[in-house]
Symmetry: C2
């Protein structure tokens, strides 16, 4: 019996090594790989993905899982997590997995080109095949109410499209109302934040504050990529990327966002490293941490009372704003085209667009070729803006090119959970404003590590939320938090 | 029968994907990986190395090889190359391969530390185990005359320690005599080449000339690493690294050297990409190309008549030298401690030291713990210098930390072959000095591509040398070339 658990662990270690190789190859592709390397990278990642899949779904892995006997509660959790992963993977044929991996690599290149040249049509055939693959995956995985459920469950165990609709219905009204009231106020002028900002200064500033906040650069690094992301392959090597644009906030909040993902991963238990118990438990929980550090901490007034002197030393052109002026400028509410640069308040509306588009394509009521039109119509309807180009419209996100379909709602879940977790944290550690203003992040990071990060994947996400906050995911804290924050900023 | 060849190609593609993942992980480790990533990298590379090995030595790979029927001469070559590789690999137990891969990763970290802190003793235990592994490998591989033959043959098919001794015996006399005569001349003053050189300027200059010489940056890139190297995983992604030091020549000749390796790989036949027929055929041939571009082209007067204006625009502090003065300064002959920065003339003496050390340890007449003493004694005897620290002595090279034992003599073979090939190239394309001075590298690169690079691994190295130059490896052209060059520079 002990042998079966040992055999299982060996198989999992092999899968972990292949998965890590794939993650490194993907990181390299998005950061440093020369253009000419794309074809071979596709080929290699396709083969390694197949091997990764085969290692997990092999009869001997399943036999070891079935024969393994847990000796303690960690083993119980391990077996549960592995059983779920194997069940998911076993249902999807190896050939489909390999095709998806190959397509992802070439579709990523095509997406980069299409976005750069505003040519949706050059990307559309690959995207169409990607949605077909998603549909095939969903059929293999099986679902009851909605084809979307099968895809969403892969990213957020137990979540359903119906829950997503309920969530959006709960927050849409209050958010739209708040946006409407803000629209009646004088517009915030944040034009001073746009310019030709020195890149080494931005790099120096973001890396300095990230370090002080607790992101360990001995176990991580920050590079440049077209779309910011966080990746890693051990507790000792969790990397982030950012990008430098004319809006000064792009690099700052991109870095803070990815740092939130990264400290979640860096904060894992060392003894679970390289096993399926390590790492963030779901995308929603992961996003709750990126949004917590980006928005609740990083877009707060106490934070800029602490960080503004360092920022204005790098960029004297904004020093006249002071912390309060900067705080107001970065929290300007303005419906816009780009999700990753959206203010906190309009962000969920961007997600709703994507959810609608995905749902419609999966159900066959929208053709990929008609996506730009549908996208623009939804932006008009939800945000009152009309994207001038597809590059600023339906080509803006990397996700679909990588086959991540059914993924976007987890961003909104993350938004809700970030406030729900923060409220609980405040009730236990006290005056967070004072801590942040003093640059004392250790108590905050420590509480999150103890309560969330170190739990790894031991509990399913819904159970973890209940354990940590004492209730299921709930929009109350989120809506209250936004109302309080924006009423203050806009004097409502 | 066709099926067997097809099956074999699939197995080889799997091995190629695993080998490429390993190469990417190694590149990352030497360039960007944070310190904390070392343990997991060791673990992952150990597992992937085992999988790579197992894929090749699997019964079904061997069965496919045995049953495969060649349909054309490329197939014949493929089967020959694969048979040799499988024979080599089958002899070495998988456990030993995995241990070596794991040890390499941790020994590399230990070497970086030991070199930085001048603590040979912290590296010695790992190095000792590495030499034990080499001995075990050699015993598994088998040999007739000399344990060294088994290791050398892995890097240079068919080469023997006896041939290496014959080569060194042939060149030692003339080289030492030339160095002695130069020593009687007034010393060249190259102190102007030492300073705090701007790194972006060095990067800009080296990348500019490499591009003009034919290294394709759409299919490659240059990064920084402690030890310059070239690596790649497809014809479309061949990368080099360099380093920036106080000697201006370090980055320039490091880059030119690695570019020589890189154009060999970039010049392969596309139809063989990702198969065992692609890539340089042996280390000696590979080194012949790095040395040809670094020394014969890059340290020539015509080259600096072409490149000096661009260099002095970046570094006005040396503009007074002019091409001739710079040419003399970079060809200063001066016995020194560091192989990779040695002048062309003393270089082989550095290799001889390593060959003697390796031979003695493998034969058991020298203990690893006594290496520093033996190393320093040989430097005293061959070069008349005494390394002041182990960091400048036996800790200077990366090779042994990676388990590359029996590798160094291929550097000297490369030196000889570079002149032998160049002489043949000159006899066919005419006035190379005029081409180089005009910055017209295409005819030179074209001839090398057609005659050497595009041959890939189709012919064994000795056969390729015979085909290209009409004779076996021979020291004549090398000795003649050095005599002519240095007699001119030093007015002998």
């Amino acid at each position: 019996m002990e042998n079966a658990l040992h055999t299982l662990r060996e198989r999992l270690a092999d899968a972990n090594a292949l998965g890590s190789a794939l993650a490194i190859m993907d990181w390299d592709q998005q950061t440093y790989m020369p253009k000419g390397g794309a074809d071979a990278r596709s080929e290699h990642m396709g083969i390694l993905s197949r091997m990764h899949h085969e290692t997990l779904v092999a009869d001997e892995t399943r036999a070891a899982l079935d024969a393994a006997v847990a000796e303690n509660e960690d083993d119980v959790a391990l077996l549960r997590v592995v059983r779920r992963e194997l069940d998911l993977k076993t249902k999807i044929p190896t050939a489909l997995v390999e095709e998806k991996a190959r397509l992802s690599a070439s579709a990523h290149e095509a997406w980069v080109e299409a976005r750069a040249n505003n040519t949706f049509s050059s990307f559309a055939p690959l995207l169409e095949r990607m949605f077909e693959i998603a549909r095939e995956e969903a059929e293999h995985l099986g679902y009851e109410a909605d084809i979307y459920d099968a895809l969403l469950d892969q990213y957020e165990e137990g979540a359903t499209a119906a829950e997503v609709r309920t969530m959006f219905d709960a927050v849409r009204g209050p958010q739209v109302e708040l946006i409407r009231r803000i629209g009646e106020q004088p517009a915030t002028d944040d034009s001073v934040l746009y310019g030709d900002w020195d890149i080494p200064s931005q790099k120096r500033f973001t890396e300095s504050i990230l370090k002080k906040m607790g992101y360990d650069f001995n176990r991580g690094r920050q590079d440049i990529a077209p779309h910011p992301f966080c990746t890693g392959w051990s507790i000792g090597d969790i990397r982030i990327t950012t990008r430098y644009k004319d809006y000064l906030g792009s690099s700052i909040f991109g870095s803070l966002h990815e740092m939130g993902h990264a400290v979640y991963e860096q904060g894992q238990r060392p003894e679970w490293d390289l096993t399926p118990l390590a790492g963030g438990v779901s995308l929603g929980l992961h996003e709750s941490q990126s949004r917590l550090w980006e928005n609740i901490v990083g877009r707060s007034l106490p934070f800029w009372k602490w960080a503004f002197p360092e920022l204005s030393a790098e960029f004297p052109a904004i020093s006249h704003l002071g912390p309060e002026g900067f705080y107001k400028a970065i929290n300007r509410v303005q419906p816009s085209f780009i999700r990753v640069e959206a203010d906190e308040l309009t962000y969920n509306l961007h997600v709703m667009v994507r959810f609608e588009i995905e749902s419609s394509i999966l159900k066959g009521t929208l053709a990929v070729a008609d996506m730009p039109e549908a996208w623009n119509a939804l932006y008009e309807s939800y945000l009152g803006v009309h994207p001038p180009t597809d590059s600023l419209g339906c080509l803006q996100d990397v996700h679909w090119s990588m086959g991540s379909i059914g993924y976007f709602p987890t961003y909104s879940m993350g938004n809700l959970l970030s406030y729900q977790i923060w409220r609980k944290l405040q009730s236990e550690i006290g005056d967070t404003d004072a801590l942040i203003e003093a640059g004392e992040f250790a108590p905050i990071l420590g509480w999150l590590q103890e309560n969330i990060y170190q739990a790894g994947c031991k509990y399913p996400p819904k159970e973890l939320v209940q354990r940590v906050t004492g209730k299921p995911m709930d929009p109350t804290d989120y809506i209250d938090g936004l109302n309080a924050k924006y009423s203050d900023i806009y004097g409502l």
